[in-house]
Symmetry: C2
Subunit: 424 residues, 2 copies
Amino acid sequence: MTTATESLRKKAEAAKAASRLLARASTATKDAALANIAAALERRKDEIAAANKQDYEQSKRDGMNASMLDRLLLDAPRVTAQAADVRKIIALPDPVGETFDARVLPNGLRIGRRRVPLGVIGAIYESRPNVTVDIATLCLKSGNAVVLRGGKEAIRCNTLLAQLQRDAIAAAGLPADAIQFVDSTDRALVGEMLKMRDVIDLMVPRGGADLIRMVSREAAMPVLAGGVGVCHLYVDKSADVEMATEIVFNAKVQRPSTCNALDTVLVHRDAAQRALPAIGRRLAAAKVELRCDPQSLAILQKADVDRLTAAAPGDFGMEFLDLIASVKVVDDLDGAIRHIEQYGSGHSEAIVTSDYAAANAFMDAVDAAAVYVNASTRFTDGGQFGLGSEVGISTQKFHARGPMGLREMTSYKWTIFGDGHVRP
Amino acid sequence: MTTATESLRKKAEAAKAASRLLARASTATKDAALANIAAALERRKDEIAAANKQDYEQSKRDGMNASMLDRLLLDAPRVTAQAADVRKIIALPDPVGETFDARVLPNGLRIGRRRVPLGVIGAIYESRPNVTVDIATLCLKSGNAVVLRGGKEAIRCNTLLAQLQRDAIAAAGLPADAIQFVDSTDRALVGEMLKMRDVIDLMVPRGGADLIRMVSREAAMPVLAGGVGVCHLYVDKSADVEMATEIVFNAKVQRPSTCNALDTVLVHRDAAQRALPAIGRRLAAAKVELRCDPQSLAILQKADVDRLTAAAPGDFGMEFLDLIASVKVVDDLDGAIRHIEQYGSGHSEAIVTSDYAAANAFMDAVDAAAVYVNASTRFTDGGQFGLGSEVGISTQKFHARGPMGLREMTSYKWTIFGDGHVRP
């Protein structure tokens, strides 16, 4: 083992040991620790911003592009906003200890399932330093220890944020070791971290598709894999054109860089002439580029819609994360369902329809984390779904699916209370 | 790709396609298919027994030991019993479609989580041919397709059972491809199967610890890992000796070959003189060998208990699966908890106590799939816990923990019904 690997190993082991104490911490203690973190963020916001400025200037000199630089930026107002987010976590219910399916069995055994933390969460992320606080505080409230490994671009700011949080939780009587930060930027260390199945219970990659794929492929422990959202909206034969236009517009334009933003518009052939021009104009006015199959292209060109191109095969099944959408005319509802089955990533899929049977058929047939009737895919979010903050959005079917809030960061144990019961 | 790998790939892809149809099959159709399977088992029981006899004789000639031969045996009475087990699955509630956490959000969106099947389950198992029916029927009821890969010792009987089930479900109108059987006994194929993450959603290994470890290590998809149960029972200072004796006896002796059988007895030092002789005599009378730490050995020798040996270090943390138990005196409740933390496998752990505070402290501190107060660890079982049949017992904290019944073989999707909702 290299020195860096050894140091990581020690941190992960310390996190494991701390996780046992944290698992039994009261809600009041965890909330006090969160309040300490929020207060420290506010008190030291200028210091944090200064560390971030160093990271920022360095990355700028290294030629980082503007959108990446914006992700990296953590100025004093953003730190204040983050402190407010931490206080919101205090207000969320603590999932640990919640007991469900509890009952007395016919033989008198009192049985139930009690929520317990998962243990140690590993987080691997890229340039956003706010993740250092986001993930650590969600883990803290859900009783999980955390090993954080951020990008090298944000190393100064991340180091400060991690130490600040360790001090804050220690001041509340919790083990500082429940929050670990990997301060080496050696890339090989990520590979080592992904092998540490005995001390890290779940890996959460936060970043681009390449990072998520690499972590999913190489991790020896379970991975909260999500992030990739190839989202479709199907405009049914019976769709109200105005509703379809507004939902498509919202899903595509409101925040195109997110995983729940719309990528592909599918239109029933009997609705295409009626719906496509209105949808096309609304999107073009917002500077959305439309990559169209031959049928939709003909209709949109005839309607003099701007920013049209012919779709290449790769434009279907593509997550654009930008003001681009692909458009296709399908024969019917089944055609839409088959297209989604082939090209979807299991994230968020929507139908706009006035037809009760079509709404139900779409809902029953489409298999994705979130399936919508007459609503924007942009709602796929822990906050919007009423879960409070989220650690991520899972597109897996194992464990939790869709937005992962605090409750989804737990497991459970069966609790059985007897009076000398033996199995016959 | 070799021909065998290509054939496996095709079967897994066919299972994936069939899983989409099976996911939407009604409970009535699935139950009719199960009834067909039960009827076919009864009708063809002599044919099945004859195929099994060939497997059995071959394995006997190859030198298989008696206990393995017993696992391989599937005679006509056992087939009849299996048909009865299949009928029990018909009586269980269908988890698919069950909707939970459903509500109307403040903005009017109607949201809920609806259970859906996981997709395709891969099963890798050893000599027991009954697994071919057990797993396939539990998958069927929970809407999952299955790819079965049994041991080469049972190949004739397994091939027949798989074909019988394919025919039976096809007769009910379900796709025969929802049940796939890998008839090649090429060992390299297992490695290939474990890579097929795109078409197999969950891998279930059924067999010895080596098989489970290999599958857990090599599978690219999630694994239902369980099976290894290093189970402890702690006799607290305040324990009722008679209760402790009966529970230890039941947990160790009732069926020692199971994963929920007791492996290690821990005794509070203040209870050791009082409890150990009674427990030791009861176990010795059932021919249990006791591997003792120095303190317990001295007490048990003084009490003239039979079948005592000094414990080697490896006797703690060992799953015996036989009439053997290790015994250790601990200083107090904390000592017991620390021992379990170090040596337990997260399966089933028990305390026997009359002390309310000790019962709660043990329940809160011990992290295992099932934690017991004053009851035998032998209850850790889907049937005993009221889940109906079980696919396995998971010792993982991700997804389901403990016995996995039909509901634990599902995921869910978020269903969202709006009226033109867009995100502000």
